[in-house]
């Protein structure tokens, strides 16, 4: 092979650059901490709008569909598989129960290296300030 020195060096640099997200994630310790999502505990918060299995695999597409329906079609009511009606809102429905995203959403997202940009715009519910 001609110029084998340059080619191999180039290949090594390329592979390092290409896998840099992996190195970055490892270095920030996120991938080393196993996700531990904390489920809501209050009595009226036991039932999510859909089953856990469904939410685990489809929550992103559900949210995508919600934002399309609410913003572009003006449809705000979601009828779940169990026939119950919910308001399609990340802040006001989902976060109504899963109120602390650092303990729920971020747990798995940080682990797999996803930075969900929902939080740039969508608010978290007002935290109850405890008086000390």
């Amino acid at each position: 092979m001609y110029d084998s020195g340059k080619i191999i060096t180039g290949l090594i640099i390329f592979i390092l650059l290409f896998t840099s997200p992996v190195w970055y994630n490892l270095s920030s310790n996120n991938s080393l901490v196993k996700p531990n999502p904390v489920l809501p505990t209050k009595e009226n918060q036991k039932q999510c709008i859909e089953s856990t299995a469904f939410m685990r695999s489809n929550h992103m597409e559900l949210l995508n569909d919600w934002r399309y329906e609410v913003v572009r079609n003006g449809e705000r009511t979601y009828v779940s598989g169990a026939g119950k009606h919910y308001n399609m809102s990340l802040t006001n429905t989902c976060l109504n129960c899963h109120s602390d995203r650092t303990q729920f959403c971020d747990q798995c997202h940080n682990y797999v290296g996803i930075s969900a940009y929902c939080w740039d715009c969508h608010n978290e519910p007002q935290k109850q300030e405890s008086s000390l």
Partner: protein
């Protein structure tokens, strides 16, 4: 040997592109199919959101408006409701409703020796939600579009921030997020999202409040009842009555945009 290496790279590149394009296009169809399984969205379920056949307009009665006395209730209500940031300077400012002197709001209708009342009048201006909106015409991603009930909507998920709509708007109604607005929102209303840097925003006639059967925030809060909102296609509505009984003007009507804010003078 030479042609073999080239051929390999070409095929590899095309394959990678093929995979990528499949990912880009395939997702939407997948979402539609998968989501109908567990809970079907009942399309016939009536919401107060978009009602077909409506033509929503706003009437601003300048005879009742007391903005020149320092009243800013409509502006404050809107700013609070929608988490409008206050940067403290005009370069990056975001405003959905604000006051303009009469000769600035109605640039092409300036009369010398006007009635004293209007010489110092401050006119509340906001997005006219035109019937023939030039901003909708130019948006390359349909991040802004005209809804069936007349409201010109914004989709902040789709907006790429090209600001073509801002160039097209003849009324200067649109604002851009030149930086992250969140630190500058006085008190966040958690029921309405803040926006992120890099998207355009404007008044949308409080469509989220209309969906709950409420009036727009500015209309509800005006102490003089100078703002009236309603459906022009409803022959019995108050807006129809007001327009029939009073003379009204609109901003830059000659441009053909058909603005849907009528000012009673």
């Amino acid at each position: 040997m030479k042609s073999g290496r080239r051929k390999f790279l070409k095929v590899a590149g095309l394959t990678a592109f093929g995979f990528a394009s499949d990912k880009l296009l395939g997702n939407k169809a997948l979402a539609a199919v998968k989501l109908l399984e567990p809970g079907e969205i009942n399309k016939e379920l009536e919401t107060a959101g978009v009602i077909k056949g409506e033509r929503l307009v706003m009437i601003v009665d300048l005879r009742k408006c007391v903005s020149e006395k320092g009243c800013t209730k409509c502006i404050d209500a809107c700013n609070h409701e929608h988490n409008i940031p206050d940067f403290g300077e005009t370069k990056d400012e975001i405003k959905w409703i604000w006051k303009e002197p009469y000769e600035n709001a109605f640039v092409d209708q300036e009369n010398f020796y006007m009635t004293e009342k209007y010489e110092s009048k401050n006119v509340p201006v906001f997005c006219n939600n035109c019937d023939n909106p030039p901003c909708v015409n130019v948006c390359p991603t349909q991040a802004t579009w005209k809804r069936e009930d007349g409201i010109v909507m914004m989709d902040w998920h789709r907006c790429i921030g090209c600001r073509y709509c801002m160039a097209a708007c003849p009324y200067g109604s649109r604002s851009f997020n030149w930086r992250d607005p969140r630190p500058f929102v006085k008190e966040i209303n958690s029921e309405f999202p803040t926006r992120t840097k890099g998207v355009v925003e404007k008044c949308m006639f409080c469509e989220e409040r209309l969906a709950k059967g409420q009036q727009p925030a500015c209309v509800e809060v005006c102490p003089e009842k100078a703002l009236v909102f309603g459906n022009l296609n409803d022959s019995k509505s108050e807006v129809r009555k007001l327009l029939k009984e009073n003379f009204s003007i609109r901003r830059k009507p000659g441009l053909g945009t058909s603005p849907e804010i009528y000012y009673l003078v």
